[in-house]
């Protein structure tokens, strides 16, 4: 007799299910079950992933859930029809939105109104009917069962029987069987599956301990009694229910009825945009594009017209006219929002497109992109092609302040029921896994913390054994049971979703209410509502997702233009600057690019003097090349060598020449993967796009295997050898999904040039805008400040009568703003600025306190960093005054009651003035930067004379031993760097790039990771215009840790 599992939890039953969806599906297929119902708790978070995976493995997916009722009991619901699915989504939305976040509950009246198309099973041991039967309360159990029967219908309600060899199961099942017979409803057996194989019960126990924030010992009552909650075979289930074969037979009968297929029956429709009378979506789009083309293309050539018509044809074929018109509508909303935010008409486009959409002429014409794809020879096929198996993806970048308000406007404009934010599911990586699993196991927390830190920030939990073996202390521990359990379980929990969170800016818009398509739940952010699906599920559902992204640099550029207009009286149009200014390219090639978009990072600065970009096309390559794709794909060095004419461009096959000629024979752009597959293996654009997507998604193992086979066969059919086909395929895989489309790189390259241009000609305004846009970029504000000073920009300290809430321009200098003071923020500093503007400068500390009621901590810090220096008193004396002026009211130290109008002479003491070191230390501690001195300027005199200042390194020849000292401002361990670690060291003169090879890093791990000031002993390396120090050893510099602002650590 065949069995189908109708009650199964994956790890999307957060901290309860102990198997991945794929593991459950594969086990189902191995056991020969024809179908499987996924019934995660109170949600459909994994439902689409499950449906896709099950189909791929020949298992029929049944969509369902295990809901929690208002009385705390559970009920199992399965979708029979599309109406049932819509009802389920409504029920789950109600459960989440109408109750406290994290405690979804379904009210009885809501359940009663949403039963059509659903089959209900009475639930696990915590189901209401089973609980009552187990407690001997048979009359009440019958009442409840009859109520469900009345709501769902006799044919749609079943008594659920579970036998996991838990004490009481068999007795309860006998009672439930009697009840079912008495009221005339069917019985069905389920496994209450929580893991695919028995061995996983250990991880399930650990998850329960984590969920209850305790150890395994402390969660005895919450844990399951045994390891019997695994996926069973038909024979095993038949044996457990040998006295009730009907319960087994009904599993297949129910499964047969549940024909709703999430991969096919979702019925999502993208909304149409309102168009003038007499027009269709398509005709109106065509009209808009032609009107706009007349403006943007004064010479509307046949070539341009052909390209436009080709795109319009594809749009019509795929029914996407409304999609583009809706985006145009959103941009119009964005313009309105931008005007409101600025308080005046906004200059320039309110947002910029990025990604493959920048390759579309239609996107250019309707204002979604600011790059002419025809002039820049951008590839359309990645974005729009004949087959188009997924919907086009448009990402829009906005300045932060515009984006926040725009998203709210989109809700208002389209209606709250029609708009939803996409979710993400943060997963267990090595650090979180070690800490949480270790705590559950009761291992010492100090040891766990040290082990967690030994693992790399974003490292996979699957690397745990390697991390433990690297350290002798933990290597020895692997022999002991507790730590061995830790290693096993951390490996198993790798990649498990931990909880639901909000994706940064993905929104879905639908014509029908979204709550019939996917359940919504409350976000952690007040007032926001999430879909229970992430972007991959949204993609699989072919929903149109728009990404509203906040680009800090756009905020900075906006402000920079405002500052320039304020000071110089002219509004610069960045679309009309000279894009061929060689002075700007000189700075770029010299890697003088701190604060410049996309080309400021340490890796970029290393490659700029080698690649030497001299045009926007070159910058497009520059932006794209320092990405994991080209790096792991081995494209970077060959590209550079070929550009420097040290070697010839080579091609694995003649068909690749037209595709890769532009990039000297190597794959740099994401769409080149598509173009290679088309040219070399004869893939269609749609097939090639499927290959590209499969490479970048986690749910694609089966797809990748199939596509590789097609790729090799296609290549052979076009007369390539198997070896060459394998080589080319490996290059594609090495690239994987981690590269930029050319259109995206072009959009970013343009912004890189524009920000370089601003830096070149308006450095003070650029620096000021960057200060106000933090946090963003590669470098902390202290590094930007020191770079600005080295370029001759004066940075003025805080002054209570000159500083605004924000940093500002004063003459040709930059004045630090109050927002940087610890204890103050922009929001709390604005009223201070307003008070001074309205009622004049502050006359004394007392006057300031009286007028602003600022908190004690903030005033202390303002004094300490010199904001009141202009009053002529020593800082320590002012702090003393402050102490006299404040008197606590009870325990509240922020309360202030003036004891005296002014301190009297007998209250004053003589205090040692702050030294320059003290002031500098206070600046770094309070502001995170110092306009005065760099710490190394004080330490220099105590250093050995052999230690070279950074600006002297340029005078030294290649290969000489060298020592250099400084503050570590960046630490980087890129995943693509094979264990190498890179440091940026800053002294009072500049920066030095330090390369630490893997062995040296391992031997000095805690020093390299933790010391803020170090001396590096190494060898100078000069390569193609770059200067590095290859480290051989380190000595820490004994300086107080509180002095150093936190370095930016990457990887």
């Amino acid at each position: 007799m065949s069995y189908v599992e109708l009650h199964c939890h994956s790890n999307f039953s957060f901290l309860d299910g102990a198997s991945h969806i794929e593991e459950l599906v594969l086990r189902t297929a191995e056991l020969g079950h024809k179908a499987l119902a996924l019934t995660d708790h109170d949600g459909l978070h994994g439902a689409m992933e499950f449906a896709q995976c099950a189909r791929a493995w020949g298992v029929r997916p049944i969509t369902g859930t295990d809901i929690t009722l208002s009385n705390g009991h559970h009920l199992t619901l399965l979708c029979e029809t599309q109406q049932g699915y819509a009802n389920l989504c409504r029920l789950l939305t109600h459960a989440h939105l109408d109750h406290e976040r994290g405690s979804p509950r379904v009210e009885p009246d809501a359940l009663a109104r949403h039963t059509e198309g659903l089959i209900a099973l009475s639930g696990c041991r915590t189901g209401e009917v089973p609980s009552l039967v187990a407690a001997g309360r048979h009359r009440e159990a019958e009442e409840v069962a009859r109520r469900y029967e009345a709501w769902f219908g006799k044919e749609n309600f079943f008594i659920e029987l579970q036998n996991n060899l838990v004490y009481g199961d068999q007795r309860r099942n006998r009672g439930l069987g009697d009840l079912a017979g008495h009221i005339g409803v069917g019985v069905v057996a389920t496994g209450d599956v929580h893991y695919h194989r028995r061995e996983r019960h250990r991880l399930q126990d650990v998850l329960v301990a984590i969920k209850n924030r305790t150890s395994l010992d402390g969660s005895h009552r919450q844990r399951r009694a045994n390891s019997e909650f695994y996926m069973r075979s038909s024979a095993e289930m038949a044996a457990l229910f040998r006295d009730m074969p009907e319960a087994i037979a009904n599993t297949e009968r129910i499964a047969e009825r549940c024909q709703f297929d999430l991969t096919r029956d979702l019925n999502y429709r993208f909304p149409d945009s309102p168009v003038p009378e007499g027009e269709t979506q398509q005709s109106y789009l065509r009209k808009v594009c032609y009107n706009e083309a007349a403006l943007r293309y004064p010479h509307f050539t046949p070539n341009i017209e052909q390209r436009l018509n080709e795109e319009l044809g594809l749009v019509e074929r795929h029914g996407l006219a409304g999609f583009f018109l809706i985006h145009r509508e959103i941009l119009q909303l964005a313009t309105e929002v931008a005007d409101q935010v600025k308080g005046r008409p906004y200059h320039g486009p309110p947002g910029r497109g990025r990604g493959s959409s920048v390759g579309s002429v239609i996107c250019y014409l309707i204002g979604l992109s600011h790059i002419d794809p025809i002039a820049n020879n951008l590839f359309l096929g990645r974005f729009l092609n004949e087959e188009l198996t997924t919907v086009p993806d448009i990402d829009l970048d906005f300045a932060r302040e515009i984006r926040e308000k725009l998203m709210l406007r989109v809700y208002e404009h389209f209606g709250n029921e029609h708009v939803g934010l996409t979710a993400i599911f943060p997963t267990y990586r090595i650090r979180s896994a070690v800490r949480e699993v270790g705590k559950a196991l009761g291992l010492p927390s100090a040891e766990l913390d040290r082990l967690a830190k030994a693992g790399d920030g974003f490292g996979s939990a699957k690397d745990i054994r390697e991390v433990m073996r690297r350290d002798k202390h933990y290597r020895d521990k692997l022999g002991s049971p507790g730590w061995r359990h830790l290693a096993d379980l951390v490996e198993e929990i790798a990649g498990f979703p931990r909880h639901i969170s909000q994706h940064v800016g993905g929104m879905v818009i639908a014509s029908q209410p979204l709550i019939e398509l996917v359940p919504l739940e409350q976000s952690a952010m007040e007032g926001r509502v999430l879909m229970q699906w992430d972007k991959d599920s949204v993609d699989d559902a072919r929903m149109i997702k728009i990404d509203f992204l906040a680009l800090g640099m756009l905020s900075a550029v906006d402000e920079c233009l405002d500052l320039i207009e304020e000071k110089h009286g002219k509004r610069i149009d960045l679309s009309r600057i000279d894009f061929n200014d060689q002075q700007v390219y000189d700075s770029i090639c010299a890697a003088d690019t701190m604060g410049v978009f996309q080309i400021e990072s340490r890796a970029q600065m290393q490659s700029l003097p080698r690649v030497r970009p001299r045009s926007l096309d070159d910058l497009t390559v520059q932006v794209a090349i320092i990405r994991p794709g080209p790096i792991i794909g081995g494209a970077v060095n060959p590209y550079i060598n070929r550009r420097l004419k040290r070697e010839e461009a080579t091609y694995d096959h003649p068909s690749l020449v037209p595709v890769l000629e532009e990039t000297l024979g190597v794959i740099i752009f994401q769409e080149q993967v598509i173009q290679v597959a088309m040219a070399f293996s004869g893939f269609s654009a749609g097939q090639a796009e499927e290959l590209r997507r499969a490479m970048s998604r986690k749910r694609s193992h089966e797809a990748m295997t199939r596509l590789k086979k097609q790729f090799i066969e296609g290549a052979i059919a076009r007369k390539a050898s198997v070896e060459v086909a394998e080589t080319v395929f490996q290059k594609i895989i090495g690239f994987a999904g981690f590269g930029f489309p050319k259109s995206h790189a072009a959009a970013f390259g343009l912004l890189a040039y524009q920000t370089s241009w601003l830096r070149e000609y308006y450095l003070a305004e650029s620096l000021c805008a960057l200060f106000n846009a933090q946090p963003m970029g590669f470098y902390g504000p202290h590094v930007l400040l020191n770079d600005g000073k080295r370029h001759g920009i004066e940075v003025l300290p805080l002054d209570i009568n000159h500083s605004g809430a924000d940093c500002s321009i004063e003459g040709s200098a930059v004045r630090i703003g109050m927002r940087y003071v610890r204890g103050l923020s922009r929001e709390t500093a604005l009223p201070v600025e307003a008070e001074r503007r309205v009622n004049g400068n502050f006359r004394s500390l007392f006057d300031f306190l009286e007028r602003t009621h600022a908190k004690r901590e903030a005033v202390d810090n303002l004094i300490a960093c010199g904001a009141f220096d202009a009053f002529g008193l020593e800082r320590r004396e002012l702090m003393w005054q402050l102490g006299l002026l404040y008197r606590s009211e009870g325990r509240a130290t922020t309360q202030r009651q003036l004891a005296l109008a002014l301190p009297t002479e007998q209250d004053m003491v003589s205090l040692r003035p702050m030294t320059d070191w003290d002031r500098m230390t206070a600046d770094y501690t309070i502001l995170g930067m110092s306009p005065g001195h760099h710490p190394m300027s004080f330490l220099r005199s105590g250093l050995h004379e052999a230690i070279a200042p950074t600006h002297m390194l340029a005078n030294l020849p290649d290969g000489v031993p060298v020592q250099v000292a400084g503050m570590v401002v960046v630490r980087q361990q890129p995943g693509s760097a094979k264990g190498f670690v890179f440091l940026l060291l800053e002294d009072e003169f500049g920066l030095a790039n330090i390369i630490v090879r893997p062995g040296l890093y391992e031997a000095n791990r805690s020093l390299v990771r933790g010391e803020p000031f170090i001396i590096v002993h190494g060898t100078l390396e000069r390569r193609d215009g770059t200067i590095n120090v290859a480290a051989r050893g380190f000595t820490p510099l004994a300086v107080t840790r509180e002095l150093a602002p936190t370095a930016h650590n990457f990887g």
Binding site: L165, V166, A225
Partner: protein, 93 residues
Amino acid sequence: MVADTRVANGAGKLRPLNQPRPVSVEVAANGTPLTVDGRTVEAIFETWRIEDEWWRTQPIRRMYWRLLLEAGRTVDVYRDNVRNLWYRQAYSG
């Protein structure tokens, strides 16, 4: 007042309630008990399994049976699957 029984204190005679007691069990080929301390098993009311403390050196792995013995007596027995021994112990969940 209780009269003096004149019996010496017997602290050593105290024993905790419901400790597992070793029993001798004959089993069928599939592991099901047939006799318990020589008494025939008439029926099996219920079976259940307990597995716990797998993280310790002495985990708990037991298979329980609630049995009806001849002469109408009901007993709970379990097989300790770590030590391969049988015990009798009343179980209440």
